[in-house]
């Protein structure tokens, strides 16, 4: 069978950053995938060397719009690591609260888009509907729906208003109820299962070899979570790390849904603690001594890693930033090969690289660079439709079911 090249990108509907995927297919099966990056390189590391430590925190907040508190969280951890600065207990709870609110809305965003890409728009509308009240919580706490600007060296910038506690609890109750419903729906829904089960499997060995992290690694059976393993604020709360064994897209979906329920539990613990724990929210830090520090934080997508080196001035001389997708995107080489093209789209989306939207940027060409009218998004949706139809043929109609019971 003849081989065909399908270039995806560089302006790609599945990624926050413009990336280029060169997919080689034989018939319908993906045989090889190559990646190129660099269109969105903004030189944050270089800019950070020209800014003070406090300005660097705001700078890294702008790296990602969705997990916008993860980078500042890891950045302040790295700066505090240089001099072993301890933060007040109330500040720990506020950091955890903001981090978990962000995790819920980021997972819901992914869930919705995953549903949209396989042509299951009900899931998309559900997930985004329940994301809205979560963003409202973020607005109540920080004043912004995104880009909270809460992190400071030595604590947080803004105290939590205890009067908000009774307003947040009912929203959490509602969201948790819906998430339990959603997790049950995901487990019961035959269409979702047949579309995602055993698709794009990333084995435990591959996940370890590619140094995958976050939900991508946890869905492949690697038991790791920076919140638990290397806590700088999370030691004050109690939570479970969700690990599933199969490594397919379905497990990645279930991991995220279950993590949302865990996050709700963590937020409840924080809210309960606020009425008991009082005091300052920031330790005064006069200067950062010469030295180096590593800071990390478990972002919704995985481990964010920051390395800071100070020479005693008010500016870092080296600031290294590593986002989780940097480690997770290369796992496509292991998970995409050998699967049908229609499943490649959801597999590429499964590690949760942020989306830019629209299918317009997909251009398909053959080996002679002539355009072919293939639309991956529609191939993916057609597959779901077909499964749904086949399923409905086998399933009994409501009338048949009534007669069956009697």
């Amino acid at each position: 069978m003849s081989k065909c090249r399908i270039p995806l990108g560089p302006f790609h509907p599945l990624l926050e950053e413009a990336e280029f995927f060169d997919i080689k297919v034989e018939g319908e099966t993906v045989v090889d995938i190559e990646m190129e990056t660099g269109w969105m390189h903004r030189g944050h590391e270089k800019i950070s060397e020209t800014r003070s430590f406090t300005q660097s925190i705001y700078l890294v907040e702008r790296i990602c719009g969705i997990c916008s508190t993860s980078h500042p969280f890891a950045c302040v951890n790295a700066i505090e690591d240089i001099d072993n600065i301890q933060i007040p207990e109330r500040a720990k709870y506020i950091r955890v609260l903001v981090g978990e609110v962000e995790r819920i809305h980021s997972h819901l965003l992914w869930l919705g888009l995953a549903g949209h890409f396989i042509g299951y728009d009900t899931l998309w509308m559900w997930a985004w509907k329940y994301r809205e009240p979560i963003l409202k919580i973020a607005e109540m706490i920080s004043g912004n729906r995104n880009h909270y600007g809460m992190m400071r060296v030595g604590g947080v910038g803004k105290d939590f208003d205890n009067e908000l506690i009774p307003k947040i609890h009912p929203i959490l109750d509602a969201v948790e109820k819906k998430m339990v419903m959603l997790s049950k729906a995901a487990k019961d829904d035959p269409v979702l299962k047949s579309r995602l089960k055993n698709v794009g499997i990333l084995t435990k060995e591959d996940a370890r070899d590619y140094c995958a992290n976050g939900p991508t690694a946890r869905a492949s059976g690697l038991d790791m979570d920076v919140r638990r393993d290397d806590p700088t604020a999370y030691e004050v709360v109690d939570f479970n790390v969700i690990t599933l064994p199969n490594g397919d897209v379905y497990d990645k979906l279930v991991v995220r849904v279950l993590e949302i329920i865990e996050s709700v539990k963590i937020i409840r613990q924080c809210l309960d603690a606020f009425s008991k724990v009082d005091g300052p929210v920031k330790t005064e830090v006069k200067e950062i001594p010469p030295g180096e520090g590593c800071g990390r934080y478990e972002a919704p997508r995985g481990e964010v890693f920051h390395y800071m080196r100070s020479d005693g001035t008010n500016r870092p001389i080296r600031h290294k930033v590593r986002a989780p997708s940097f480690s997770n995107i290369p796992t496509y080489k292991a998970s995409c090969v050998g699967i049908p093209l229609a499943d490649a789209l959801i597999t590429l989306a499964a590690v949760d690289p942020c989306y830019c939207c629209t299918e317009r940027s997909i251009r398909t060409v053959d080996t002679n660079n002539n355009k072919i009218d293939t639309d991956l998004l529609n191939i993916s949706r057609d597959k779901t439709q077909k499964i749904r139809k086949d399923f409905l043929k086998k399933a009994k109609t409501p009338v048949e079911r009534i007669f069956e019971k009697s």
Binding site: P10, F20, E36, T37, G38, W39, H41, G43, E45, K46, D81, N84, R208, D209, Y210, C211, N213, D223, M224, D229, D230, P231, E292, G293, C294, R296, E303, F305, Y307, R309, I317, R318, K320, R322, F326, S327, P330
Partner: protein
């Protein structure tokens, strides 16, 4: 004897400048270029660490690469540091130990011009498609004058 002690005992004579930050479980130490593959192999395969990332830095007398190996069972980060010269920077690649090093080594070659010996695909990573950067342009390097001083 715990894992950490075993590791430091095994490579006792090959590590220099060991910095221990016990409260936060961070260990920094210098390793020679010829030993880095063995050290990385021990950390990754025997101790079960994960390569978080590597950081390249230009310092006054050369370039250095700091590897961050994360031990997820204890929350420890081991940071072996390899130094190389400014004129002809070259370090042994650890891609044969873990595929997770493939992209970051390409990035360090791209931004700092450090060549990784034995890398299967030694292309640039970030500025590969940028028409303003040639093969010899490495944007994170300092501009130096004739006396090798930072401008």
């Amino acid at each position: 004897m715990n894992k950490k002690q075993k590791f430091f005992d095994k490579f006792e004579d090959r590590f220099t400048n060991i910095i221990e930050k016990k409260e936060r479980k961070r260990y920094y130490f210098n390793v020679k270029n010829k030993d880095i593959i063995e050290v990385a192999d021990y950390l990754f395969n025997t101790m079960g660490c994960r390569l978080s990332i590597c950081t390249a830095t230009e310092v006054y007398d050369g370039l250095e690469v700091l590897y961050h190996f994360s031990d997820d069972s204890t929350g420890t980060i081991y940071n072996p540091r390899v130094k190389t010269s400014l004129e002809n920077p070259e370090i042994n690649s650890i891609v044969e130990v873990t595929k997770g090093a493939e992209w970051i080594e390409r990035e360090m070659y791209d931004l700092f011009g450090i060549k990784f010996k034995g890398h299967p695909d030694p292309r640039k990573l970030l500025t590969i498609n940028n028409p303003e950067f040639g093969e010899d342009d490495h944007p994170m390097r300092f501009k130096r004058d004739k006396n090798n001083r930072k401008k």
